[in-house]
């Protein structure tokens, strides 16, 4: 009996850590995806073999989960030459679709570090969401996109949007972009430049899971006028510094999820934190993310839990459908001063026109004969005076 009890205790002791590990793994499954992805694809510079391998890795994951996938190739030219890249697209169709929701994350990285935070974390969350919703019946068609060549200038997302038909753009209810969501003291949801039901709901939902890390709403940009007045994107705030900007400029409602530590609510400047702020540095590695501890895992898991819940919970249906109506009317703010200038010019022209018309009418009254008569009087000769008598 003692032997059996001892054996039971030994088995229990040996299983216990595994059970704890399993719990931990379940709790932070997004982190597991990050670990696997960055280990398998540590170098993903645009146009490199590593980037293509990463795209294949993501495509295989989507296929394993049962998604229809699409391999979207494109190329672009920069100073160093022509770069070939690709987007990986997974689609899931609803039986009675209310519209399309796009969830995207770029998978390329800069040429230093491993891009663990930027944007291995986004890809990991994308895969985690994909896994969670794969077998569910949703109200929306869901398009999961891993964008290539973001770091070179949003080329993957630009190619994706350019290839969307007008009908597809109009039927897209929302685009959610996940970029760099591991490192940072807070999570930020960039919506419009005003409070919207969509943004508020996401933040509220994110904070409802009870993680120690907190989510905050943040305006997209304070200078929409300047950004939208251009056909290109002249400069960036954080809210515009990722693939979501391409969709937003194309008139599609967007949410951008990002983790960081801004100095204050209005600021777009990160607090200097040499240990953890690793974006676009050689320090953006899995080791660095790990050193950020449970905060990094929580950041990623909050995003995954929030977005998958948001897609599956019917309570958010109306909010998603109405997201388009809540978009800031950028065109109005961009162009109304021009119409004021137009109006002032037109008023000036009208005043000139009326005065000039009056002058012409007076001149026209003096017909050729009248003018001649006037001329006679104005330069009266002795004969004229004689005739008048």
């Amino acid at each position: 009996m003692k032997k059996i009890i001892c054996l039971f205790i030994v088995i229990l002791i040996s299983i216990a850590p595994m059970a704890v590990f399993a719990d931990s793994s379940d709790q932070y499954s997004a982190y597991d995806f990050l670990n696997d992805f960055v280990t398998a694809c540590p170098q993903r510079v645009s146009g490199s073999e590593g980037e293509t391998l990463a795209a294949e890795y993501i495509k295989n994951k989507f296929i394993e989960m049962g998604y229809q996938t699409e391999w979207q190739e494109f190329n672009f030219t920069i100073d160093s030459g022509t770069i070939n890249s690709q987007n990986v697209v997974a689609r899931m169709f609803a039986q009675n679709s209310l519209g399309q929701i796009i969830i995207g994350a770029h998978y390329d990285s800069v040429n230093v570090g491993n891009g663990a935070n930027d944007n291995g974390s986004g890809v990991a969350v994308l895969l985690d969401i994909a896994q969670k919703i794969a077998d569910l019946s949703l109200n929306y068609d869901v398009v999961l996109v891993a964008f290539g060549a973001e770091e070179e200038g949003f080329y993957g997302s630009s190619h994706f949007v350019t290839n969307m038909s007008m009908t597809e753009r109009q039927s897209t209810l929302l685009m959610i972009n996940i970029d760099s969501v591991a490192v940072g003291d807070n999570l930020y949801f960039f919506g419009e430049d005003k409070a919207t039901a969509l943004n508020d709901s996401l933040v509220e939902l994110a904070n409802s899971f009870g993680y120690s890390q907190k989510a905050y709403a943040k305006p997209l940009s304070k200078d929409l006028n300047i950004i939208y007045a251009s056909t290109d994107i002249p400069y960036y705030h954080t809210g515009y510094a990722s693939d979501n900007s391409v969709f937003r400029i194309a008139g599609i409602p967007t949410e951008f999820v990002f983790s960081g530590t801004f100095e204050n609510y209005d600021s777009y400047t990160q607090t200097a934190d040499a240990d953890f702020w690793n974006m676009h540095t050689a320090n953006d590695t899995l080791l660095s993310v790990n050193s950020f501890g449970v905060k990094a895992k929580e950041n990623m898991q909050i995003v995954s839990d929030t977005l998958s819940n948001f897609l599956t919970n019917d309570d958010f249906k109306d909010i998603i459908i109405n997201a388009r109506a809540d978009m800031t009317n950028d065109i109005f703010w961009q162009t109304w001063p021009a119409y004021v200038i137009y109006g002032v010019l037109l008023l000036g022209f009208s005043i000139f026109g009326f005065l000039y018309l009056r002058k012409l009418r007076k001149l026209d009254l003096l017909t050729v004969n009248q003018k001649n008569e006037k001329k006679v009087f104005e330069s009266a000769s002795v004969e004229d005076i004689y005739d008048l008598k």
Binding site: M166, A229, D232, P234, T335, Y342, G353, D364
Partner: protein, 180 residues
């Protein structure tokens, strides 16, 4: 003037060519958007919207369509306003020339977008009006000097003035309506 009158047919063809070139030059931005839309909706799946040749083709076709529409409008407006003292075919030639001038001004002003793309939002509204004013007044003063008989100047100016005013107000109303 005499050269134009003596070689009217040749002048007309030259004017049409100038009109088409200026039309494509001045409306390049709109043509690019329009051809992108066409390529996107009509030929979805075939990547033609980005090609400059397609934009050029759309531009030339719409320029020829504009030639036809301008002739109809010019004839109708002159008759409706009871102006019979102007030689219609010569006036049509000058209408085309000054519309070409308007497009040329818009095209030249639009070049600033390549230096400062931030100006596009305002430029497409204000530059168009400035060019319209310059070309319309140029047309008025030219025709007034060479063709309008004494005693009819107020009548002719009233026509041009009313047309500019009506067209500009229409554009403001449509523009503001599209904003709200």
């Amino acid at each position: 003037m005499d050269v134009i009158k003596k070689n009217f047919s040749l002048s007309m063809w030259l004017t049409r060519i100038i009109f088409v070139i200026c039309y494509v030059f001045g409306r390049w931005l709109y043509l690019r958007s329009f051809s992108a839309l066409m390529g996107d909706t009509l030929v979805y799946g075939i990547n033609i919207y980005g090609t400059y040749w397609f934009t050029l083709l759309v531009g030339i076709l719409s320029a020829f369509l504009s030639l036809f529409i301008i002739k109809l409008l010019a004839t109708w407006i002159m008759r409706a306003s009871g102006i019979y003292y102007l030689p219609m075919r010569e006036i049509y030639l000058f209408v085309l020339l000054f519309v070409a001038l308007k497009n040329l001004i818009v095209g030249v002003l639009s070049l600033v977008y390549y230096i400062a793309p931030v100006l596009i939002g305002w430029g497409v509204i204000v530059f168009d009006f400035v060019a319209l004013l310059a070309a319309s007044l140029g047309f008025y003063f030219f025709v007034d000097k060479h063709y309008v008989p004494e005693g009819n100047r107020a009548n002719f100016f009233k026509l041009i003035f009313t047309l500019i005013l009506a067209f500009s107000l229409f554009k403001i109303v449509i523009g503001v309506y599209s904003l709200v």
